[in-house]
């Protein structure tokens, strides 16, 4: 009779007689702490320069104080917030800021995309030169460029009026001043935005455009249906930067060229904030306004970052 014997599974390897290596408690502690130690310098800077001032601003916003160490700071509760939120100049400043944001979007989105797309074929040394040229305005100190623009915008002998054949008093007319601030700020940040868009374009795989052209798409269709959608995370990022930083980018120009005027035509929220704090020496109102902007910008940033995450297409 035939006997069927099941093949046994492979026997486990005999236990090793060497005791497992054990690290000392001290070494394990250092090992666990290492990532935090690496983070520490950055965290320390954030705490000192961002979080501590933020907390101090919260504290200041409940006080009425003129910033003089000798004068008393009186607690006023939420009164500063009530006054700031009901002040008519706040509404005006928000309007001016919104105008700056909308006015700057062509310089941070539209023009950079057009320039970056048309400069894609530039290669090698010419590319480096072109990038340096486009980026150069970013490297000019804003106050220095403001001084030069002041000459260029001079209503009598300025180059701008002469080239355009206009008789505009650029920095004294409210609308003209707003246009001037937007254009000069736009000139400043254009190179930066173009570099970001170029980097975004460089990061998209050429294979998609190649596939689209074989699939029958025309160059225009490739740009609109493939390239720009793939670039959308970059564009959302630039929109976020524009919304959060427009008032900040224009600040040194406003301060040098118009000081917020004529009237309040170029008083953005940051300029208003600065006026509260360092013109009126009203620390409480300045801090309260700062906190309000902080909360609003936090919400805007959260929305746009979420949007950006949704728009990122990670194709491994």
């Amino acid at each position: 009779m035939t006997l069927l014997v099941e093949v046994p599974p492979p026997a486990p390897a005999p236990a090793a007689e060497v005791p497992p290596a054990r690290r000392s408690a001290g070494r394990r502690l250092v090992g666990a702490a290492a990532p935090y130690l690496y983070l520490a310098p950055a965290l320390a800077l954030l705490v000192v320069w961002t979080y501590r001032p933020l907390l101090q601003a919260v504290q200041l916003s409940t006080l009425s104080w003129n910033l003089l160490p000798t004068s008393p700071a009186t607690p006023v509760g939420a009164a500063n917030f009530r006054e700031v939120l009901t002040a008519p100049e706040l509404g005006d400043a928000v309007g001016v800021t919104a105008l700056f944001i909308v006015g700057l979007l062509p310089f941070t989105i539209v023009l950079p995309v057009v320039i970056a797309l048309s400069a894609r074929r530039v290669r090698g040394r010419a590319r480096t030169l072109y990038q340096a040229l486009v980026f150069a305005p970013m490297l000019v100190a804003p106050v220095a460029s403001a001084a030069i623009w002041q000459w260029l915008l001079d209503p009598g002998s300025g180059a701008v009026n002469r080239v355009l054949g206009l008789q505009v008093n650029w920095l004294a007319d409210p609308t003209a001043a707003q246009v001037a601030i937007i254009v000069v700020t736009g000139w400043h940040v254009l190179g930066f935005a173009t570099l970001i868009v170029s980097a975004g374009l460089g990061g998209t795989d050429d294979e998609y455009a190649a596939a689209a052209s074989v699939d029958g798409a025309r160059p225009r269709q490739i740009t609109w249906r493939i390239t720009l959608p793939l670039l959308s995370p970059t564009l959302v990022f630039l929109t976020l930067m524009t919304i959060l930083l427009s008032a900040q980018w224009s600040f040194p120009l406003v301060d040098t060229l118009t000081q917020g005027g004529p009237g309040d035509a170029t008083t953005s929220i940051y300029y208003l904030l600065w006026e509260y704090g360092f013109r009126s020496f009203d620390a409480g109102h300045g801090a309260a306004a700062g906190l309000v902007f902080f909360v609003v910008f936090l919400a805007v940033a959260w929305v746009l970052v979420t949007l950006s995450d949704r728009l990122s297409f990670h194709d491994d």
Partner: protein, 396 residues
């Protein structure tokens, strides 16, 4: 379906020649595989056919129309990319419909054709997903579907299976072959995988250093390699190539090397006498055509020592060093067990009909023609230039 012809197609980057004057005719409905190692110019060649790379010289013809200067979208060719290049921001349905949408096809028609292709490739359940939510095999099918959906004149495929695991590659290979048979599609297929070439191709075109080395059916290129490159590229393990001193006489060829004394008689068995003109040759034998014998067997024309034996499951490979230590190495392949032991002496026999001869300088195949004074060059590896042949209609 379309016929694709390439005439003197050339591409150089500075001093580097990527593709060096390719003449090739892909017949209507033919599955032609461009096979070669990495960097042989096969992908560059395919991209020139697609219109993605502008050739330095030469012409591309689709159905007798010169499309060399025609943009990719008007060539009526579809391409499957190695990376699949699925548009990451579009759903599977939009990816499949893209070629139709950009050509201005109506939405209803697009939806209908996408549904049909999706059903054919088993993608119906996945139509709403985005590429990142798909597995490698599903992505490959979407890429194929995007090529199929607009019923192009021909398909260009750039290593479409190289990103799949071995098992999926085997099944997809069969699927592609079946699809080709059913559609009678013209396919120009680039790969470095000889198994894909041998199993799927109607004809294989081997490229080396930007040049076409041989074009033929899988059996032709395997059984009669035109050069030592083809002999050494095809087959796993590839053909054994040995430098030998030969005497070419009136009754055949007598080849000698360390551990080798082989007679290739023109007629009948028996040794070839040592009379005639001497010359160097490269002798090629496929591992499966070497037969293990006792070291002192009379028909053991190769003698050496077994250096290693590899178990492939159904077969075994034996590596043998011929003659003394430091001699040339040959590989023997046969059903397991081969009956050899590492370190032992071994004799190897071979059927003279299975022996290939090559010129050591040009590397080209030498055919034995009994009665001729010297071996004539082998059949042309490169097809006749396009200009030498009549065209169905004059070119623009």
């Amino acid at each position: 379906m379309s016929r694709i012809r390439l005439s003197g197609l050339r591409k150089t980057y500075g001093d580097t020649v990527a593709v060096d004057g390719i003449d090739l005719d892909v017949a209507d409905g033919e599955f032609l595989v461009l096979l070669g190692p990495s960097g042989c110019g096969k992908s560059t060649l395919l991209r020139m056919v697609a219109g993605l790379i502008e050739p330095t010289d030469g012409r591309v013809l689709v159905d007798d129309a010169d499309v060399t200067a025609v943009p990719p979208r008007d060539r009526d060719l579809a391409m499957v990319f190695q990376s699949y290049a699925l548009y990451p921001h579009l759903t599977v349905a939009s990816n499949l419909g893209f070629p139709l949408r950009v050509r201005g096809e109506r939405r209803a028609v697009v939806r209908e054709k996408v549904a049909a292709v999706a059903a054919e490739l088993g993608l119906t359940e996945l139509l709403r997903r985005r590429p990142k939510e798909l597995s490698g095999g599903q992505r490959q099918r979407v890429a194929l579907g995007r090529a199929l959906v607009r019923e192009p004149g021909a398909f260009l495929m750039d290593e479409p299976l190289s990103n799949l695991d071995a098992k999926l590659r085997t099944s997809t290979r069969a699927g592609l072959s079946a699809l080709h048979r059913r559609l009678r599609a013209t396919v120009l297929y680039v790969t470095h995988d000889q198994v894909e070439a041998m199993t799927m191709a109607d004809r294989v075109a081997l490229l080396d250093g930007g040049r076409l080395v041989q074009v033929g059916t899988p059996a032709e290129v395997y059984d009669a390699p035109a050069t030592t490159f083809v002999a050494g590229f095809l087959g796993s393990p590839p053909m054994n190539l040995l430098d030998v001193d030969a005497v070419v006489g009136p009754h055949g060829v007598r080849a000698r090397a360390v551990g080798l004394d082989l007679s290739l008689p023109d007629a009948g068995p028996g040794p070839v006498p040592d009379a005639g003109s001497s010359r160097a040759l490269v002798l090629g034998v496929r591992p499966e055509h070497l037969v293990v014998r006792a070291p002192d067997a009379p028909d053991a024309v190769l003698r050496g020592r077994v250096s290693a034996v590899e178990n492939l499951g159904s077969e075994e490979l034996a590596r043998c060093v011929l003659g003394a230590d430091g001699g040339p190495e040959v590989t023997v392949r046969g059903p397991r067990p081969l009956g050899v032991v590492p370190g032992r002496e071994v004799g190897l026999a071979v059927d003279p009909a299975r022996v290939h001869l090559f010129d050591p300088d040009s590397g080209r195949r030498l055919e034995r023609r009994p009665g001729a004074v010297s071996p004539a060059p082998s059949s042309p590896a490169v097809e006749p230039a396009l200009d030498d042949r009549p065209l169905a209609r004059s070119l623009p």
